[in-house]
């Protein structure tokens, strides 16, 4: 198979460094992965191409990069499936993290987020002589999260981190969930509560916009966004229901439950607090603009037809045994 790798390169050691594109034409086996192609370039054509790679089997987490615009592991993607009609494949370094050289990015920020969630088991109470007793289901569930190889693909393509680097981000939050969901980690009044409280703050679990990009690009099926949603539920259940995020979720669902449709006008005050005048006043200009452009939601919120059926749905979700 004859293919062209179009690679975004960067050399920090030239004067006024800037990224540039370079094309490499090569012939590969039909079964070759993108990583096989990059290694061939490096070994046979141009040894100055820098990239991280090691295991060749999607387990070491070294080779995350953007392939045709989306983050993924080069060793997990077959060239045959990645090329366009002209047999071209586009390779860039991972996003969000700064580039060090060519396809190598600086992971310092990635790891500092991981470190921020106290990433180790913190059991409370006496340690058993033998193993902790735990159900296989609980462990299999956790293994679905610990399958994370810290490749950074989710961070690369996280649409929040792209604009707000202070966000803890999908990898660190999934890591945090791995502990809050572990029956061996702290108890509900102690460590587990502390963990949730810390994640409940600004830059934490409520900053995710649920764009699902991380779920899409994760090569290991960890589904970080789903873990963040699970964290939110844990936080609310632990009594942390007094944040914008928690109240927003509550306002959203109670509006739907009662009328079958969203009461957009009341969503904002219910989220930030009806008496939170500073924030509400801040929003006044936007509300005015919406009004003048005919975008303000109706002042009188109506129930939809058959709203009672929506309520039934809610009941069924909340208490599946009863229905």
């Amino acid at each position: 198979m004859d293919v062209t790798f179009k690679i975004k390169r960067y050399d920090p050691e030239v004067e006024a460094p800037e990224s540039y594109w370079q094309d490499f034409s090569l012939t590969l086996d039909d079964s070759a992965t993108v990583l096989d192609g990059l290694i061939k370039i490096r070994e046979e054509i141009d040894g100055t191409l820098s990239l991280r790679c090691s295991c060749r089997s999607a387990i070491c987490g070294s080779c995350a990069m953007r392939i045709n615009g989306h983050a993924g592991l080069a060793c997990k993607m077959q060239v045959r499936l990645a090329v366009d009609d002209d047999n071209v494949i586009i390779i860039e370094p991972a996003g969000v993290m700064p580039v060090v050289k060519d396809l190598v990015v600086d992971f310092d920020m990635f790891w500092s987020k991981i470190m921020a969630v106290d990433p180790y088991l913190r059991p409370e109470g006496p340690e058993p002589d033998a193993e902790y007793i735990a159900s296989n289901e609980a462990m299999l569930h956790l293994s679905g999260v610990t399958a994370c190889i810290m490749c950074g693909a989710c961070v690369s393509d996280c649409t929040v981190m792209e604009v707000d680097p202070t966000f803890l981000g999908p990898a660190a939050l999934a890591k945090a969930y791995r502990f809050t969901a572990d029956p061996r980690d702290g108890d509900a009044q102690g460590v587990s509560r502390d963990r949730l409280e810390a994640l409940n703050g600004p830059t934490g679990m409520w900053d995710c916009t649920r764009c699902a990009e991380c779920v899409e690009v994760c090569p290991k099926g960890v589904a970080p966004m789903d873990r963040i949603m699970a964290l939110r539920e844990q936080a609310i259940n632990a009594g942390f229901d007094n944040t914008y995020g928690a109240r927003h979720a509550e306002a959203f669902s109670s509006s739907l439950e009662h009328s079958g449709q969203l009461d957009e006008l009341r969503l904002v005050p219910n989220t930030v607090g009806v008496f939170n005048l500073p924030v509400l006043l801040n929003m006044a200009p936007e509300a005015l603009r919406a009004l003048t452009h005919g975008k303000l939601p109706p002042i009188i919120h109506k129930k939809i037809e058959n709203a009672d059926r929506v309520r039934k749905l809610f009941r069924r979700v909340e208490d599946p045994d009863r229905s």
Partner: protein, 559 residues
Amino acid sequence: MLEHDVLVIGAGLAGMRAAIAARAEGASVAIISKVHPVRSHSNAAQGGINAALTDRGDGWEDHAYDTVKGSDYLGDQDAIEVMCQSAGQALIDMEHFGVTFNRDDEGKLGTRAFGGQRRARTFFVGDFTGQAMLHVMFEQLIKSGVRRYEEWFVTGLIEEDGRVCGVTAIEIRTGQVFVIRSKTVIFCTGGLGRLFEPSTNALIVTGDGMALAYNAGAQLMDMEMVQYHPTTLAGSGVLISEAARGEGAYLLDKNGERFMERYAPNMMELASRDVVSRAEQTELNAGNGVNGCVYLDCRHLGKALIMEKLSQIREIGIDLAGVDMITDTIPIRPGMHYMMGGIKTDVDGQTNLPGVYAAGECACVSVHGGNRLGANSLLDTIVFGQRSGVHAAQACRDQEYIEFDVEQAARREERRIQEVIDRPQNGDRIGSVRLAMGESMNRNLAVYRDEAGMLETMHDLQGLKEKYTRVPVDNKNRVFNTDLVFALELGFMLDCAETIAVSALERKDSRGAQARTDYPNRDDENWMKHIVTVKGEEGPEISYSPVSITRWTPEERKY
């Protein structure tokens, strides 16, 4: 000045375990690794880790016997006893650290069967046990407060008055050369799979530590014992774990027959690895394969079991060979997988060089002898990692730093490296020299060996070593210069390759992983001994070391 009581080289399972243990002893500890710790090759371990837990009716003596037999009686029985006796606690420690081991119906740790063992005593996390353990070990490393040099490449050892007192290393991100002083050094640099092409091993597994220690005068032992794993994927040579056979998969020839019946009627597919690999190679040589492969058949295991316990290797089959093990057989063949030999140590990790320790795959205690049992290597890393960490830390207590001219040592190494970078651009490429070495090793030091073949490889290696002095480095800059790293690794690989070929030529019998067609039998009278190599004036020099036998007298091996 960078200085630490204990410097651990390598941050795989052995290295991190050693560092945590040394820190717990109160020493100042640093760990240095050419890749971020969680990228270390330990993460590739799929199948699991062995331990005989007494509370489920297993006994460490049984585990030890299986290990001794598996080693073809070349393993040192005193060391094997230490490993198997410590296994239970070492495993429970890992569970307490947070590893999410699969459970049984009662919520206790669950087991699966593995090759060469009469009981199921392999504990596991799906089929990514190594990754699960490695990430948890990293969590504990963070907690321990050990200083980490991540993405630093060790290029040499510094010796003063016959004692190792530090290392030189390149900080890969900047390309700058540093000296790190230490009272003791623990090598935990892993195996050397990339000497062979193909291999199941990751691209970073290049025998650096063995070569560094060897060049400083350390003894290497059992270097002829290279494990070929029975189920590596056609093409890339990536591993399909023994867990598949542990869960009940079959090996089939081109006619769909389970040929293991003829080689190991009792254990069948779960005989020792050397036995199964030889059986496959024999079938392949007889023309009973297809395109150089036989088949691994998992179809009868059912989708549910495969998804719960073998999902990662299913993905590997799909991604790399385009076959789905739920519906298809997988083409596989024996492939280079593991190094039983390494830096000779005692049960506390101590080498023949004062202040230098080794643990994990780069070390040879020797608990694996002629053939390692599946799932004994992860155990080896954590048991001997911990022991060497404790011992090295204790050895520092009444030891002062040795004075030497740090600046000068750094400058000397900087100059040597600049010379490598400055080589003219007209020699053979790094990749082509490595490939020639890998193919030669895989041709002549594989499942079956003979003198003519091994001499051919010796000859090849001489030529390649000569070429090596001229391989050019394309990248003349310093920041993340992986080209330079490969050039230096290639030198380490060639040193190790030579010791393997020399040791294999020396051993004139067939035992464990070494099967010589010109000496087809095990000869206990003459060759029940370890082969030891040290660096001499003209290359490796050979001596012997006795095998420790405590309670199991050698007998013929049948499975």
